[in-house]
Symmetry: C2
Subunit: 359 residues, 2 copies
């Protein structure tokens, strides 16, 4: 996915952009090498110190400047995956200005670097049939506005055919956007690849925008149940029963998943929560002094999973929640794996549970 800037086009672009307005020269960053080492570059004649931070590094590393003002550093080989990173130029943290691939988020600007494996990874663009990702608008009566969501439809999807598809409703993290699951999580490519191998059922994946600020958080639960699900069911050939609906999400979206799914087990038969953040009023209200009819819920829920990494900063509260649900006699399946509160882990959580829903 890296877009190499050749010398010729760099000269050509330098010409046009110099005329249009003053911009830095065209340089290539990041460059991922065959041995999985990565070179990062940044242009500044005036900066005093440039550092790169990334989720493949245990600490920021310094770049060095050449005589033209191009700062660079090459980091040793890293495990193939997609990683967020950023530059710190003097006191300023920023995304890599030469990298098109930005971490879709409302509060920080980081770039992402894709280190391909020697074998294709579950999130790689592979030579398989591809589904489509469509950007759609829906009217939210709950929130009194028009909102955007993304819909993945699988390869061979026929909007007018007789097939009725199940739907996974997939929610991003706290300050992410409706694009984070495709742009960073590659949910569409993970689905393409698992479906091509027959490991996941053909399904729609609906990726809404989960933040409802300044509305109170529980309004997203209402938006999901009263606006998003009805919009999808009115516009796509889908199964309109709980056995055709799954809800999943990461971090704040993982907490929303528990709130939405476990208070509506008649509507969602599959609930998959990834590293859930649950220190919210809504979660407290729903699950403190909670006395569920466990036998009934275990019948309704065909799958209830919670995933978390042992280095996740939420590992302890997530373990406590798993214990709490077990204590209520709910059939919760836990996936405890290595790793932190990262989108590298998040992709794996999705890849695991995509193979289990609707089966």
């Amino acid at each position: 996915m890296k877009r190499i800037v050749s010398l010729l086009s760099a000269v050509f672009l330098a010409g046009i952009t110099a005329m249009a307005q003053q911009r830095p020269p065209a340089i290539s960053s990041p460059d991922v090498h065959p041995d999985h080492s990565i070179t990062f570059r940044y242009f500044s004649r005036n900066a005093k110190k440039v550092m790169v931070s990334g989720e493949f590094l245990s600490a920021p590393v310094a770049m060095t400047k050449d005589t033209l003002g191009i700062w660079s550093v090459t980091v040793p080989p890293v495990k193939p995956d997609i990683y967020p990173y950023s530059f710190t130029v003097d006191s300023v943290q920023m995304s890599d200005p030469n990298n098109t691939y930005i971490f879709a988020n409302e509060r920080f600007k980081r770039s992402i670097v894709d280190v391909p494996g020697d074998q294709l990874l579950v999130h790689s663009l592979q030579n398989v049939p591809h589904g489509k990702v469509s950007y759609r608008y829906y009217k939210s009566g709950t929130l009194g506005t028009t909102r955007q969501l993304l819909v993945y439809t699988p390869p061979g999807f026929d909007p007018n055919g007789k097939t009725r598809y199940p739907v996974l409703y997939l929610i991003h993290g706290g300050s992410d956007t409706e694009e984070t699951w495709t742009k960073v999580g590659r949910a569409n490519l993970i689905a393409d690849n698992l479906m091509a191998q027959g490991k996941a059922k053909p399904m729609l994946i609906v990726m809404p925008y989960g933040n409802v600020r300044p509305a109170p958080m529980p309004d997203f639960t209402k938006d999901m149940v009263n606006d998003i699900v009805p919009f999808i069911e009115a516009n796509f050939p889908v199964i309109k029963e709980s056995k055709g609906r799954a809800v999943a999400g990461f971090s704040v979206g993982g907490g929303q998943t528990l709130n939405i799914g476990l208070t509506n087990p008649d509507k969602f038969a599959y609930v998959c929560s990834y590293a859930p953040f649950t220190a919210t009023d809504e979660f407290k209200k729903n699950f403190t002094d909670w006395s569920p009819d466990a036998a009934q819920m275990n019948k309704q829920l065909k799958l209830f999973t919670i995933s978390v990494g042992t280095e996740d900063f939420l590992y302890e509260p997530v373990k406590q929640n798993i214990a709490m649900f077990k204590d209520k006699k709910l059939a919760v399946k836990s996936y405890i794996v290595p790793g932190g509160h990262t989108w590298m882990n998040c992709k794996q959580y999705l890849a695991t549970t995509l193979q289990e829903v609707f089966k």
Copy 2:
């Protein structure tokens, strides 16, 4: 489209993110006020100088810092439109870290601010039926790779119906991406609004990625004719004749439009070039010592337009090209309007020509 961060959610997010990793506090930027003035904010305790630059300003303006380290400035009312802007923090130019809306581009990182009008604008999200924007992959035999393109399908589009739609192939500027026409140019909303008013014909709009670096530029002409058009015609119910194909583009894409359209008048009956950049080998090769059969081409081309602003840095060469095409007796229609080499102008060029193609 602005996402307001309430005090409550700011506290909530500050909690989770402080735990996850060190991030700046949640602040709201930009804030567009009812009188169309705009407040920009940036957090830094250490910066010495923070400036905002934007296409609504004739020169950068300085922000001032409060005791908490929040820099801000309010600029006087600006004409409603969508504008790119950036911050300069000490020596570093960057996008606004608190704004989700980023100018999709490979070489610079700017943010965009949407200043709504008192009346709805042609690019506003209006209460009309909305088409869909789908992200698709196609295999480019020309370039030997899988590439992404965006396809807008109009409201009421039926992939299996009897209607055959015309297609506008719409190309971005030099360092833009396949997303720039929707993310910055709002091509989908402009089309929704004009179609709702009956001013534009229902059509597909295909937005490919026009950069082929390090391949030579003419390879994009081949990619368009031999890969993109066949992919669309194999996968969508479209008119497979020149009268059902238009090509348009901005800046470098405007030059590509002339190269693609005028060397293939049997394939594209509508050619609309916006502020074309033509200082390329391909353009020189195609149109130096060119002796077209003007009578034949004027019969084939149902519409040939070139748009440019009088303050555009390409105004002079574009005027020379218009004169050159007129000299060759081609029926070129020129739209000379106020404004510069900007996406504000670009949206207007599209809105104008969308009402003329396929009629």
